[in-house]
Symmetry: C2
Subunit: 208 residues, 2 copies
C-alpha cells in the first residue's frame, strides 16, 4: 500500500529526528504499510466491485504479520495502568521495545478497524500509554476515505479523525492514512470478519 | 438524582473558584442532576425489575429540559471549527453563553447516552471546543456503573471512562457521575428509544 496522508505531531517529529530508535520504529511501521501487497503482485490492488465489498481485517493482519515476522513486534501488550481492571482498557495491539547501546524506547501501534467512535477510543488509549510512560511513541494507522469506501461498512477513515489530531499536538504521535496503489474488479475480494484468516500463532507479548 | 462521583480538572477547579460565571455554569449543570426527580416524588426512583429495563434517553431529556426551561441553555450548538464539514463532528449537545458586567463565558455540556467508544468521542469533541476557544468550560454527565445496570444495554458509565480522565488534566473539564436516590420495582419503567417522549419544541441554538 502507499502512505497517502500522514500526521506527525511536533513532539513525534523531534523524537524521530534526534532518536535513532524512534526513527527505526517509524520506519518499521511505515514499511508494514509499504510492504503490504497483493499476493503475486508488487503493489496492493483492492477489489472495487461495489461499496463495502472487502473486509478490513485481512489488511490489518498483513501489516501486523510484517511487523511480527520481519521486525519482531509483539501483539497485545497490556498497559499496567489498566492492569487491575482489564475491562477499563484493552491491551495495545502491537508493541515493541527498541534497544541499542543501553537506550530503550517503547513503541505502540493500533490499526483501527472499528467505527469512528472506536477510533477515538484507540487514540485515547495510546495517549494514556504515553501519559503513563508505558509507551514513548504512538502510531495509529487507518485507511483514507477513498479506500474505506470499499472496506467493511462504517470502518473509520483518516479524514474523519483528522479534525481531532490537534488534541495530539503535545503527544509523540503519528497517524498514517494508507491507500491501495490500484483498484480493480479482477483481484479476489478480501473476506469479511475472521473468515478466510488462516489459523496461525500470533506473537503475544504474554508468551514471549 | 444525586451526584455520586465527580471529576473536576485542576483548571476547572481554578476557573470555578475565581470566575463567578464558571461557578454559575457549574451550579446550573449540577442542579439539572439534583432537580431531576421522578414525577410526584422529590427524589429520583429507578425501576430495578431487571438488567437494562429502563431507557436512558428520558433521564437525559429531563436534565436538558431543566437546563433549557429554568436556566436558558440552548441545544445543538455547532462548533464553527467543524462548520465546513458537519460529518466530521456534530454540534455540542447543550450550550450557554454566560454574561455579566461585560464578562462572557461559553459553556458546553454532553449527556452521554451511547457506548464507551461514543463517550470517548464526546469527550474529545468537548476538548476540541476548548482547544479552539469555542467553549471555555466543558461538562460531561454519565450514570455511575450501579445505575447503568438498569439502563439501556451497553450505555457507558462513569467508572468505564474514569481511567481516561487524566487526559483532561490540562483542560477545564468537569465530569459528573449521577445515580438514582432509590431503586424500586414499584415505579414505572422509563421507555427506551424515543418512545414515550412527549413531542415538544426544543430550544435549538440556530432558532434563537
Amino acid at each position: 500500500m502507499l502512505i497517502a496522508k500522514e500526521y506527525i505531531s511536533p513532539l513525534a517529529h523531534e523524537l524521530i529526528k534526534r532518536n535513532p530508535l524512534a526513527e527505526c520504529a517509524y520506519n518499521e511501521v511505515a514499511n508494514s504499510i509499504l510492504k503490504n501487497v497483493t499476493p503475486g503482485h508488487d503493489i496492493f490492488i483492492l477489489n472495487n466491485t461495489e461499496k463495502n465489498c472487502n473486509g478490513v481485517v485481512p489488511v490489518k493482519e498483513r501489516c501486523y504479520q510484517i511487523l511480527e515476522n520481519e521486525y519482531g513486534w509483539y501483539r497485545e501488550k497490556p498497559l499496567s495502568y489498566f492492569h487491575d481492571n482489564a475491562q477499563k482498557g484493552g491491551p495495545i495491539d502491537v508493541y515493541k521495545e527498541f534497544c541499542q547501546g543501553g537506550n530503550v524506547l517503547y513503541a505502540g501501534l493500533e490499526f483501527e478497524t472499528g467505527n469512528i467512535s472506536s477510533a477515538h477510543r484507540s487514540m485515547n488509549k495510546l495517549c494514556i500509554g504515553i501519559a503513563k510512560g508505558e509507551i514513548e511513541i504512538a502510531f495509529l494507522m487507518m485507511p483514507i476515505k477513498a479506500m474505506s469506501f470499499y472496506l467493511t461498512d462504517r470502518v473509520s477513515n483518516y479524514e474523519e479523525l483528522e479534525p481531532y489530531f490537534l488534541l495530539l499536538d503535545n503527544t509523540p504521535f503519528v497517524v498514517f492514512g494508507f491507500d491501495a496503489e490500484e483498484y480493480s474488479t479482477d483481484v479476489p475480494l478480501l473476506p469479511k470478519g475472521k473468515d478466510g484468516m488462516s489459523p496461525r500463532t500470533i506473537r503475544k507479548w504474554q508468551d514471549r
